[in-house]
Subunit: 502 residues, 2 copies
């Protein structure tokens, strides 16, 4: 078989896997939005079957030979096919590292633990979680070990690689160290500044769901979300799902607070724009997929935090907010709304955190999950270590484990190595936004006028359209002149939260 | 391989096919309800891929040997596994009759014709449809011929068998002959009776969509529809989709006429109750599926026509209708509402037809599709033959082909052999309802009180729970004492439309 023939066959198979993945994505979206409760088992089986069939295609006995055959000719391939082949091998390497028994053990362990976790979290009862959590940790170590053997990476790096290809714990530590040392001090200075400035004027509710929904849709359209290729719906936990041709974002509404749903919609729209902007010519191939979780999160945070918590966005959005909710007077000015959107306060809950304290929540989790994985921290000692870390990083201690180490689903779900990508995304967002503004100085003025085309156009070219054709760092380097770093992010925080107040 | 081992392997494979089919059913439902227009191609590919993967499983090279091995021991199997094995062979025989090239030719032909049909129908332009329609007819003949060879059936019977297993054109003709001779005369007598009785009092609208929806849900719940295992939504063409654990029915609302959506919801609820009541122990096996289109339609028509256009249902529903739409006075009495629900009039459009004239629409289509398939009728002569048939059977001639031979999607879609099942369903519905009433004389009184449990309980036992464990006729014979016939249906029409008025 010639390299070209092998590659053509690989493209055919990966295309089919992608289509199965897309079908699963829609079924998964439906599960979180419209599925009746009694269909849970039925749907779980559909998703499991599609997953298994995709996995079977990926680890087919001749796949290794096909990859090797194609790779023999790879140096004569064009850039994109060559990158595609590299991504194919990456997917294959991850998949074949785990045998069926291990995959099943992990599925069983995480399903059981997730179920126990829901109740344990509600009760703030860490002890209740321990037995199933122990099994998840054990199986996660086994997964890591299997990947160590197959990928030649250290255990934590092997897990991280699935979410953020090519990254390592050392790299993450190097990025997080400046945050760990700068943010606690910065937080205290910002709190002092905001205390002196006084609280913004309160915004009187209630805020009807329908008005919130219409407003969210308006801003989505302004950002370039294409409702011919996507939807906005409601789910208990907001997410972006579906496929690059059918992107489905969700939110949840609170009539006492419009900001949560609205900023959530903008966040998910950032994810959605990435999916919608992936290279059309590579729709069903690995190289056409989003690069990794760090860049994905960078797109949601760039839209939510960099673009839409800016003064310029407040100028654009203030009159729309006032009209939608029948507000008037000084509380509904751009300035007051901006102050609302940029309040900082240490809190217990990661998903409620502002952009300044959020990285500290992530640093804590990164340190703890490495210690748990290596065995340096015993699982039974997690609550104490968590509370120590919170005191150390944020100066507060959660009253119960419910607001502490039980708050996130990630670990019970076996997703060790995922947390760092949130903050890597925040760093990348700051870096990309600054580069976009340097390249297109008209972006802020355009945003203030509700025109996001210059910003989104730049992202299309420099991030979305590049798919997985290069590494996260290579994409960032070409787009911003540097690989992922912390300087721009820290400068952004200082500018937004200190300089602007002084 | 022992027969038992072969059977176990078959069960495993058919289970997987069923799961793929269920995934497709949800994706198909989403396509008709919530999918954005731009995802059409994406979704078509997902459905095609799942279809192909299911087909590949069904026609796997060793499937014939597995079936033969299992069948060697079938006389020692219990009834249900033996019936399951018989259904497995039936599915396999249909699937392997067509080679991939023919399946693809059919898919291409019907997709092209369906597209042309939408415009041709809108324009009433039969000539525009002819070229693509010719290809569909040619490929349908080829499909029939392929199945003749594989199944040992006559061409039309081979097509019919896919929708109504075991039935034949001769059987259908024998059932339709009494209808063809009795209904035109009965129609004239009923029209005369209704003319003498005068029109019912008009029901003043408009009828808000939300009130219609709530009313539909109320009646669905009364009928025993389980909203933990199903939904009611909106689509352009009402249907019942989803899976037996997640049944999704749709309707469309017209604020000028509540009856269409409401009776449509009751019709689809009949389909849904069948799916929800299929034998749980055989959920993912062929023997656990609905028996065929005739019995399926019998369940929708039994609920809609037999149960819910009865005087008893009018007694139950009248106060709910009056409350929902703020109606009062003589127009909103059970008697007046019943007269609305039982108006008879010849019309051009099958889907708008009452239960008395509907079979004549089907008789016409049955005769024409047989003549088209055999070549006795040239495709170009279809409009004339259609109009002659309408004059002959219903005494009216459509003004254009839009209201004539272009109205239905079935033929452009290649679904020759489907139409007869509508009327076979109507016959079965009358027969089953009469048997239920004979067995449970309290059913009418219960319906008048909004209690459908006695009726639906009887259907659960005698129809739903039997799945595909026996033939349509065997199921009917055990439930009603006789195979499918016309006498009960004709008696029902005479009782409802003549005796009750005289």
């Amino acid at each position: 078989m010639t390299p070209q023939d092998a590659y053509v066959e690989l493209v055919r198979r990966f295309h089919r896997m992608a289509v199965l993945g897309r079908a699963s994505a829609i079924l998964g979206w439906d599960r979180s939005t419209f599925m009746p409760a009694g269909a849970t088992e039925d749907r779980a089986e559909q998703l499991a079957t599609l997953g298994v069939m995709g996995h079977e295609l990926l680890v087919a006995p001749d796949m290794g030979d096909l990859l090797a055959s194609a790779e023999e000719g790879a140096d004569r391939f064009e850039d994109w096919p060559r990158a595609n082949l590299r991504e194919m091998r990456r997917h294959w390497s991850h998949a074949r590292a785990l045998d069926a028994a291990l995959v099943e053990r992990r599925t069983r362990a995480t399903a059981a633990c997730e179920m126990v976790w829901r109740q344990a979290k509600a009760d703030g009862d860490f002890a209740a979680l321990l037995p199933t959590f122990r099994e998840v940790l054990a199986v996660t170590r086994q997964v890591a070990d299997a990947k160590v053997a197959a990928l030649g990476l250290a255990p934590y790096d092997a897990l991280l690689d699935e979410y953020e290809p090519g990254s390592t714990a050392a790299r993450v530590s190097a990025l997080f160290e400046p945050l760990r040392s700068a943010l606690p001090g910065l937080l205290q200075r910002v709190l002092e500044v905001q205390r002196r400035a006084g609280a913004p004027l309160p915004l009187p509710g209630p805020f009807p769901v329908e008005a919130q929904r219409a407003l969210g849709e308006r801003f989505m359209r302004a950002l370039g979300f294409d409702f011919e290729r996507g939807r906005l719906d409601v789910s208990a936990h907001p997410f972006t799902g579906g496929t690059p041709d059918d992107v489905r974002i969700t939110t949840r509404y609170d009539e006492a607070d419009f900001s949560r749903a609205l900023m959530g919609v903008l966040h998910e729209t950032g994810h959605a724009l990435y999916e919608l902007g992936l290279p059309a010519a590579w729709r069903h191939q690995p190289v056409g997929a989003a690069r990794g979780m760090a860049l994905h999160e960078s797109q949601s945070l760039l839209i939510e935090m960099q673009a839409c918590r800016s003064r310029d966005f407040a100028i654009y959005s203030a009159p729309h907010l006032a009209t939608a909710f029948g507000g008037s007077g000084p509380a509904w000015t751009a300035d007051n709304l901006y102050r609302h959107q940029t309040r900082v306060a240490p809190g217990f809950i990661r998903i409620d955190a502002d952009e300044l304290t959020y990285p500290l929540h992530v640093v804590l989790r990164f340190e703890l999950e490495r210690a748990l994985l290596s065995g340096d921290l015993a699982l039974a000692d997690l609550p104490g270590a968590w509370n120590d870390g919170m005191r150390d990083l944020l100066g507060i201690v959660p009253p119960t484990d419910r607001e502490g180490c039980l708050q996130d689903i990630h670990w019970p779900d076996g997703a060790f190595g995922y947390f760092p990508t949130y903050t890597m995304g925040a760093l990348a967002a700051a870096q990309l936004f600054a580069a976009a503004l340097a390249a297109e100085p008209g972006i802020p003025t355009a945003i203030a006028a509700g025109d996001f085309a210059p910003l989104v156009g730049w992202l299309r070219t420099h991030v979305h359209g590049r798919g997985s054709s290069a590494s996260t760092d290579a994409i960032l380097e070409r787009a911003t002149g540097a690989p992922l770093g912390t300087a721009t992010f820290l400068r952004h925080l200082e500018t937004r939260y200190l300089a602007a107040y002084e």
